[in-house]
């Protein structure tokens, strides 16, 4: 009998400690709220490192499992079931890593209702960690929906001018997708007699045509979250209106909830349906890659540009996952991390300039390299990472995904055509286009606006938010082996399942 107090429970709910303490503060005690939130999130990160230390990457099963009966009425068998494996360990770490960085970025940006902000932020962390760790479908759904609430308030209270429109669009859109998933979850739980994901996976035996419907129901929730083309239009609005820290978390982690959902639930529960639908999903992914890149290029608002680039980058992740081979899935998981780091850093960067000039219109800048050299160099590194320059993290992810997609295009592969890889590669070029033009408009050329001449370069606190991200950007780019080591065995297991499904399904 596992005890309730295990590392995963601890890491998931530890941020609540911060929420409780902050709840007793006065609204005026802004700094206290900030420090408590920062320290609590740092301790949470520490706990997640402790989880990592105990994690055995050779073991393909769930680890550090806690599994306790929870709701057992009317034949329903719902458990409090947490566990971590190679698919989720990196995302767990990414969440606990990005949260303190985001909190640090709000130090001067959020002055209004700091106490509430920090409480919502820590609650959001609980929800996200729960999503990555829950192994019971019902529990997963609760965490999944729970993440919506704090994010809704973060956008709706601390957002920009059109914050109510964005917040409601975000909330209703994601909610609408989730309803279909809830139906599928209930169907599974009632018909298969359990809500436990490992048990459901082990049982299998869902008829192929039924799998397709269930796959689609889950996909509705996840595809909106990712977001996949053409369900992406909530994202730019949410990003533009969200405060910087909200954008970092939104891009860095909340979107990964969708891709992770595809990986964990759609691939794991419905392997036959995954094989059958892979070309369709990959097709949408490729459209997303190209479309997102094109719309990015046409933006004048730099934050919107970064937001649309997420549509493009997550297209790569989806393409990798639905290549259904080891290269593709490993590349997809790594690219989730990469996108969290690079795009997270880009949103921080945009936030820094917005705090100084209160505009994000790229035409309002130019020649900033001269004025803010440190900021310029850090931005350059992050931009290069985002466009996949070798030696930085983005390249490793994109290249592995392209390898996977190319392999899946060969005979016997899931995609059946190398055009998916070829068109996705076009996205690599387009990424270079919009990123370089963004960099050019902000940093190169003559200084055209007088008010830019007096801008201060970034301070130590701001450097401190970027440097940890940049260290990881280099680390993954130069020596990604430790990161792949964490996921390889589990992915290998999943790929074996998918391959036997492919043999059963494909002619």
């Amino acid at each position: 009998m596992e005890s309730l107090i295990n590392p995963l429970t601890l890491v998931t709910f530890f941020p609540l400690v911060g929420v409780l303490i902050i709840a007793f503060l006065k609204q005026e005690q802004k700094n206290a709220a900030r420090w408590i939130a920062l320290i609590v999130s740092l301790i949470t990160f520490g706990i997640s490192l402790w989880v990592l230390a105990q994690f055995d990457s050779a073991n393909t099963d769930l680890q550090m499992v806690v599994n306790i009966p929870w709701i057992q009425v009317a034949g329903w068998n719902i458990t409090y079931y947490l566990g971590v494996d190679g698919l989720s360990i990196l995302l767990l770490l990414l969440t606990t890593f990005l949260t303190p960085i985001s909190i640090l970025s709000t130090w001067t940006a959020v002055e209004d209702r700091v106490k509430d902000f920090m409480m919502f932020f820590l609650l959001l962390e609980v929800g996200m960690l729960g999503v990555f760790l829950a192994q019971d479908l019902f529990l997963f759904y609760i965490f999944w929906e729970f993440t919506l609430v704090p994010m809704y308030f973060l956008i709706g209270i601390w957002g920009g001018q059109r914050r109510m429109y964005a917040a409601i669009k975000f909330f209703l859109y994601t909610m609408a997708g989730s309803i279909l998933m809830l139906l599928a979850i209930l169907w599974l739980g009632i018909n298969q007699g359990t809500f436990s994901l490992p048990e459901l996976t082990a049982q299998g035996g869902i008829a192929a045509n039924l799998q397709i419907w269930l796959f689609l129901a889950f996909a509705a929730a996840f595809a909106i979250k990712v977001p996949m083309w053409p369900l992406h239009s909530w994202l730019p609005d949410a990003h533009v209106e969200a405060p910087t820290a909200g954008s970092v978390i939104l891009a860095g982690i909340l979107l990964k909830l969708g891709t992770y959902g595809f990986l964990r639930f759609n691939l794991g529960l419905f392997p036959e349906a995954s094989v059958q639908l892979a070309p369709w999903v990959a097709g949408l992914a490729v459209i997303g890659i190209l479309y997102g890149a094109m719309v990015s290029y046409a933006q004048k608002d730099v934050k919107k540009l970064v937001a649309y680039s997420s549509v493009s980058h997550l297209g790569f992740v989806m393409l990798g996952l639905f290549a259904l081979n080891a290269q593709g899935i490993e590349g997809g998981i790594l690219q989730m991390i990469n996108h969290g780091l690079s795009t997270g850093a880009l949103f921080l960067i945009v936030g820094m300039i917005y705090e100084r000039r209160h505009t994000r219109d790229m035409d309002a800048f130019g020649g900033l390299w001269k004025i803010m050299p440190v900021y310029a160099v850090l931005t350059l590194i992050v931009s290069l990472s985002s466009m996949g320059l070798p030696g930085l993290n983005g390249f490793v992810g994109e290249f592995t995904i392209l390898l996977g997609a190319w392999g899946a295009g060969q005979d016997g592969g899931a995609l059946g055509s190398v055009w998916f890889a070829a068109l996705a590669a076009l996205g690599v070029i387009m990424a270079a286009v919009y990123i370089l033009f963004m960099f050019q408009k902000l940093f190169l050329g003559p200084v055209t606006k007088e008010e830019n001449r007096t801008l201060k370069d970034i301070n130590w606190r701001e450097i401190a938010t970027l440097v940890p991200l940049i260290i990881l950007i280099f680390w993954i780019g130069l020596y990604p082996k430790p990161f792949f080591d964490l996921m390889s065995p589990t992915v290998g297991n999943l790929v074996a399942t998918l391959q036997s499904a492919a043999v059963a399904v494909l002619p």
Binding site: P230, A298, E330, G367, P390, D411, A425, L444
Partner: protein, 723 residues
């Protein structure tokens, strides 16, 4: 320490220099250039040690391979980082290390080290000069030091690292890493004066154009990996693997190519971008926006040479299935693209007046020679020309930089406003800048293939001999004509720049550059002559066999080293005629050009001259064909789609809610639900109103009604029950 370990240090020195300068010495100018030059010196010294060691043990043709680090996994195998040394590596390292060292030293003088800070100089712009006041109170303008001096040397360190990495690695993926690092450096260095809009545009153009090619190459890499399961050269370039790749059709017979054919073509695209071949040649001339040492670095020592190095390295794959006759599809493509580019850009070079642009087009053209040579199977000839070209092109670029410097000096002196790069503003510089003149002459003659003495003669002759021997007549004729034009525009350049009389006052006041600039010129000039003597065919009349033919040793890098082609007098005669003829013609046409006079060819060529002057309008064509439609797609179509169609549908769905609500309200709620309720209430009320008539309050009337009711009930009761 073994040779294997030493190789690792060759790329390491410049990257260390990069980090040292960026992190520690970026404010101390002399220290920054000392570190950079020291790093280049170490790399060169190590290179020569390796060459010496390998040569003295006499196993030049053997491969030395070391695999070291597992880099990252791909499913069940690993990418490894390795080094590989074979004759091709050594030949490439040889010219790379020398040219890089020379360019580094030259940059010290080029950026006016020791000169005062400029009066109004800003980072991101070219130095504009400083005003000095001498002992007599006279003010005069002098050149000023580059404001971003240290940054320049840091970028150069990174650039050199990329090239060394690319050359020493034994793995295609690491090669690609070096390849992209150079792409980044070219972006940073072409746009070094980033506040200049033209430099900024050129930087982006260079990066994006090469990136298009890189992505195609990346697909080739992915395919190669899936076809062979490895990206290590020593595992791919083995006869059995190659044979297999050449036999199997690609992707269910895509275009009728074999796997080797399709991969080969994708890889050649990488070279077309990096080595600026048609149709992706447009970025290289614009790359002249960078400081001149950058041009030398890109054009000779590193980037474009890397492109040619790639196809030479991949020759075993590109030629897989080639039995010595009937070219493979990748080879045909190379032969065509190379020869076409060679003549295309040679003709453009005739009509350019910018001293650096002429050289830029000559680079494109010479690279075309190499690629065409490789396309017809001239492995040794291509490599040989790559080596000699690197020396004389580095020399020419540095020489042109020295010329520009000299003229700029004159401009400061006279205060004229003129373009110091326009050859029509020069003339007569041979007397003012003798060292620059003589070394430039050597470089120019090498480019033109001046017989016997210069390196360019031997390597170009080798290419023509290959085409002749294998009877590739279209290639032979095209390249011969291109060689003639090359000699012609080279002499045009030399004549306009150095010969005759000065055409401006600035040219009259030019003076010789600092020794840090002229010393590299002299050293490179020596190599531009002597390197050719290492590749004299054994059967050449009189000279053959006097010196060992080292160039031919490069063939040892192939699984099956090629035989030397037999000597023939016809290609030799052709070489002699085109180079001497072109040089003479150029001198005859341009020797008497006076100030203000139009180009002597402008009139006789008429509209053709305009076309050449405008580079066949490629930039305009691409703008029309690709750039505008892409803008339209992104800025009009995609945005419209997003805002109107996708969000439109969404808002449509969102408004279904309220619409449905009002439907229920107006058609169900109001008429039916409300209506029913109202009807009941209404009817009740009406009944009430109707009944009210009988509620009079009079007792007598009630009694009557009670009686009537009683009677009525009694009758009904009787009828229903009793009956």
């Amino acid at each position: 320490m073994t040779i294997e370990n030493i190789i690792w240090f060759i790329p390491l020195a410049p990257i260390l220099a990069f980090f040292l300068i960026v992190l520690l010495t970026n404010r101390t100018k002399w220290l920054s250039h000392t570190i950079a030059i020291l790093a280049a010196l170490i790399s060169a010294a190590l290179t020569f040690y390796v060459i010496y060691d390998v040569a003295s043990e006499g196993h030049l043709a053997e491969q030395v391979i070391i695999s070291m680090l597992k880099w990252f996994p791909t499913g069940d195998s690993w990418f490894t980082i390795s080094v590989l040394v074979d004759p091709l590596t050594l030949a490439t390292l040889f010219f790379v290390s020398i040219t890089i060292l020379m360019i580094f030293i030259y940059s010290v003088g080029y950026h006016n080290f020791g000169a005062p800070k400029g009066d109004h100089d800003r980072p991101g712009l070219q130095p504009h000069g400083a005003t000095l006041t001498d002992a007599h109170g006279h003010k005069h303008r002098v050149m000023s030091i580059e404001p971003m001096y240290s940054r320049f040397f840091a970028f150069f360190g990174l650039f050199a690292f990329g090239m060394y990495l690319l050359v020493t690695t034994g793995n295609l993926l690491i090669l690609f890493v070096g390849w992209e690092i150079m792409g980044l450096c070219s972006y940073l260095l072409i746009g070094f004066w980033y506040a200049k809009p033209s430099a900024r545009a050129a930087a982006i153009k260079a990066f994006l154009t090469t990136r298009i090619a890189d992505v195609l190459m990346l697909l080739g890499i992915a395919y190669l990996y899936f076809a062979t399961g490895t990206l290590n050269f020593h595992e791919i370039f083995v006869p059995e693997v190659l044979e297999q790749l050449a036999l199997e059709p690609a992707l269910n017979g895509f275009l009728g190519l074999s796997i080797a054919g399709l991969i080969g073509i994708l890889i050649i695209f990488g070279t077309i971008g990096k080595s600026a071949q048609f149709p992706l040649h447009v970025w290289l001339p614009d790359a002249m926006e960078g400081p001149t040492p950058v041009s030398a670095m890109i054009h000779a020592a590193t980037m474009v040479s890397a492109g040619v190095y790639l196809v030479i390295r991949f020759f075993p794959l590109l030629s897989a299935g080639w039995e010595g006759h009937g070219l493979t599809p990748p080879m045909t493509l190379m032969a065509f693209i190379g020869a076409f580019t060679a003549i295309l850009s040679a003709t453009i070079a005739i009509a350019q007046n910018d001293v650096k642009r002429v050289l830029a087009y000559s680079t494109i053209s010479q690279l075309g020679f190499m690629i065409a040579a490789l396309g017809i199977g001239g492995y040794v000839a291509a490599t040989f020309h790559l080596v000699t070209h690197a020396f004389f092109k580095a020399l020419l670029f540095l020489g042109s930089g020295s010329v520009i410097h000299g003229v700029e000096h004159g401009v400061f002196h006279t205060g004229e406003h003129l373009d110091p790069q326009d050859m029509y503003n020069m003339g007569g510089l041979r007397r003012k800048m003798p060292i620059t003149f003589w070394t430039f002459l050597i470089g120019g003659f090498a480019l033109a293939g001046f017989p016997i003495l210069t390196a360019g003669f031997w390597s170009k002759d080798e290419i023509l001999a290959e085409a002749y021997f294998h009877s590739h007549w279209p290639i032979f004729i095209t390249l011969a004509v291109a060689a003639l034009i090359t000699a012609f525009y080279t002499m045009r350049q030399i004549t306009l720049t150095f010969l005759g009389e000065p055409r401006t006052k600035a040219a009259d006041h030019a003076h010789e550059s600092h020794w840090t600039m002229t010393l590299p010129l002299v050293i490179l000039a020596v190599f531009s002559l002597a390197v050719g003597w290492l590749g004299i065919p054994e059967e050449f009349p009189l000279l053959g066999g006097l010196l060992p033919n080292l160039a031919h040793e490069v063939g040892g890098a192939l699984p099956e080293p090629p035989e030397a082609i037999p000597f023939s007098v016809w290609p030799l005669l052709t070489s002699l005629v085109v180079s001497l003829g072109g040089l003479t013609l150029g001198w005859l046409v341009y020797r008497n050009v006076k100030a203000g006079q139009p180009d002597p060819l402008a009139k006789p060529l008429g509209p053709l001259w305009t076309v050449l002057k405008n580079k066949y309008y490629f930039d305009e064509l691409y703008d029309f064909l690709f750039i505008r439609p892409a803008h339209w797609m992104a800025e009009d179509f995609a945005i419209w789609m997003d805002e109107n169609v996708i969000d439109g549908i969404l808002h449509g769905i969102a408004s279904i809610g309220p619409a449905l609500g009002s439907f229920f309200r107006n058609y169900i709620d109001k008429p039916i639900v409300n209506g029913f309720g109202d009807w009941i209430a209404d009817t009740t009320r009406k009944i009430g109103v109707g009944l009210r008539v009988i509620q009079t309050g009079r007792v007598q009337q009630y009694m009557v009604m009670a009686l009537v009711s009683l009677v009525a009930f009694g009758i009904i009761f009787y009828l229903l029950l009793v009956q």
